[in-house]
Symmetry: C2
Subunit: 363 residues, 2 copies
DNA sequence: AACGATACCGGTAACGTTACCGGTATCGTT
DNA sequence: AACGATACCGGTAACGTTACCGGTATCGTT
């Protein structure tokens, strides 16, 4: 083990300043009953000795940590990163600091176990509240300040933030149907997430509403990764009567569709229309038409909500529903129309490069 | 404040299992001197009561935390995100968990102060070791397990990981010079970072080596953000004798160059060649030729290094130098040559869309 | 002059865990 | 039969901080 010399404690500061530890503690925490001169002397000593509060000891005694924990299954996927950006923004505006905790590649006992463990660990030990992203677990201890983003259930018992997945899905489908598409492939996401189910339901209902047949052959199920986007679209596009459009239930899978289309020599949108879901930053480079669910904004709102809970302020609503918005770019075309759907001409990928962040974030 | 009921402690478990707290502790920590039957009974009780160790208490007593802290100024910029991906990968392979700490938008006392504070806080309180990204502070307490990525100094007193910035810069410049460019604009980054200075030095030396004049007018100084990439390139491209190529010292600033070029009606690479530095994911969508510094890999290596330090294993080298590599895409062209530099034809942006991750990560 | 209010500070205990010491029961060995 | 080795367990103290109680000095008020 790494040997470390004893660090400077509040006792050392007290001795050096000629006061008791209690007084140092009061000075540290900005209590009123410390004489101005004493306060100054203590702060000087703290500076000289390089003292910093031992968070573990403080938290054990006072149960205050000024820390918010963010639990994510993994850090390296766009959804998580976007959430983090929003969380970070809210943190910067608050008195809290951020602690990002990843369950990593779960080594033992499965994700549900890991989630419960970490939530308990964080709420009890080192953070005041917890935000959990795309959890597997449906219910957590309701008397702990915890909020989920994209929770397992539609009407969770814990406070939660999620997008209007059903509405967004219907909107995307309506758009494709309006463009004249009748055979629309669907690539589903992780089935254990309610968001997946809602999007699929939207797909089905939109077809029903338009009196279009639902062909189960056109419904493929992925897991939100580009890999399954590839395998699913390969399957869909190999069908004898292949779809003229594909609705991928997230952008990463839509990226897989782009890749397979290129492999198969299909041009987007001339030969195939594609719609995604999420509006991750990559989408604008691809010119992908997608449903923006304002991921970063969800992180922002969720953070504000935990802070409220921690401070005992009642929430306006237990569940915050983020309004989705269809962002139309260049990956769709009216069926049989040589021109781009927006009436422009030219290679869509060229126009796709829009660095100004169109369809970006709400402010 | 949020009211929380007293949580389950090791005492409760002890009572329920009919043993002492010591024994529960031993069972928890997998010590050998616990009877198999006792161990099982304790684990059952732990499960029933939903007990989890209070990390604060454990850490205070045992000084072990199995946690590594990652300190970054901000979470929302590509460099930081890439580092995090690498760190996360190494963490997943280890017995440690990850704690990401951001200094956020520093509210008081400046970044240097915040950095020192957080480092001390993390090493003393809640983590076993710390990785700090692009620090402002040059030296940290050498007897604490801390490692910097992209440190302030070239030969830091603390262990560090950085790319071969000078070499990468020279390589990029050699490439442009080889393509016949003589007036090459340069956009510098944050001056307080040694990496910036090394890149600038590479720029100068490459010109010297090629017997090309160094025109100070062509050297603009940004701060690694797209905004300064825009302002600097606007300045450079407005010069009476404008450069035929621009070397932006990171990709985000290169993105600014793309934007300004579009505004001014300059085609890339036909009218202007651009090279970046970093190889962030966005670069491949832009078809940006850039110097890959394997950011994620730097995070990976840095993490392995802290873990070694924590475990008392001596490091092979105090400073790890990540070899850069020039990734040639479509943003450069030989001067006066109507064809693309790689001999292909067609809109570069079109070909830029390479989803397969060319120029990606080392495995 | 006596009293209460106020400002300021110190001492003690406690947060929940684990390191350390030491103790008992059991069993094999001579 | 006596002893040592071993397995297993409990008690105590300590990690560094802050909550809480209570105490003194000072000063204004009646």
């Amino acid at each position: 083990m790494y040997k470390k010399k004893r660090s400077v404690t509040i006792q050392d500061v007290a001795k050096a300043a000629g006061v008791s530890a209690s007084t140092v503690s009061r000075a540290l925490n900005g209590k009123s009953d410390v004489a101005g001169e004493t306060q100054e002397r203590i702060l000087t000593v703290i500076d000289e000795l390089g003292f910093t509060t031992n968070l573990a000891a403080r938290s054990m005694r006072s149960h205050k940590k000024n820390l918010i924990g963010l639990i994510m299954p993994d850090i390296a996927y766009p959804f998580a990163i976007e959430v983090m950006k929003g969380v970070n923004r809210a943190i910067a505006e608050s008195e809290f600091d951020l602690l990002v905790y990843t369950t990593g590649s779960v080594r033992k006992s499965g994700r549900a176990y890991a989630e419960r463990k970490y939530v308990s660990l964080l709420t009890k030990s080192i953070s005041d509240g917890v935000i959990i992203v795309a959890p597997v677990v449906g219910e957590f201890n309701t008397d702990e300040p915890i909020i989920s983003i994209d929770p397992v259930m539609s009407n969770p018992t814990n406070p939660a933030v999620h997008a209007t997945n059903y509405h967004g899905s219907v909107e995307a489908m309506d758009y494709l149907i309006e463009l004249g598409h009748k055979r629309i492939g669907y690539i589903g996401g992780r089935v254990e997430l309610e968001s997946s189910n809602r999007r699929l339901l939207g797909y089905r209902d939109a077809l029903k509403k338009a009196n279009l047949p639902i062909d189960e052959e056109l419904i493929a199920s992925g897991d939100f990764t580009t890999e399954t986007g590839i395998s699913c679209s390969r399957m869909l596009l190999s069908l004898p009567n292949r779809p003229t459009a594909i609705f991928a239930s997230n952008d990463q899978m839509a990226m897989g569709v782009f890749q397979v289309a290129e492999e198969m020599g299909l041009r987007i949108p001339e030969d195939l229309s594609v719609v995604g879901f999420d509006n991750i930053p990559e989408s604008k480079y691809l010119g992908l038409t997608t449903v923006d669910q304002f991921i970063s904004e969800m992180g922002y709102v969720a953070t504000q909500m935990v802070i409220k809970i921690i401070n005992g302020i009642p929430l306006d609503q237990q569940t915050y529903r983020m309004q989705t918005r269809l962002v139309i770019r260049n990956s769709c075309q009216a069926l049989g129309n040589p021109k781009n759907s927006d009436g422009s001409i030219g290679s869509p990928q060229f126009r796709a490069i829009d660095l100004k962040g169109e369809g970006g974030e709400r402010q």
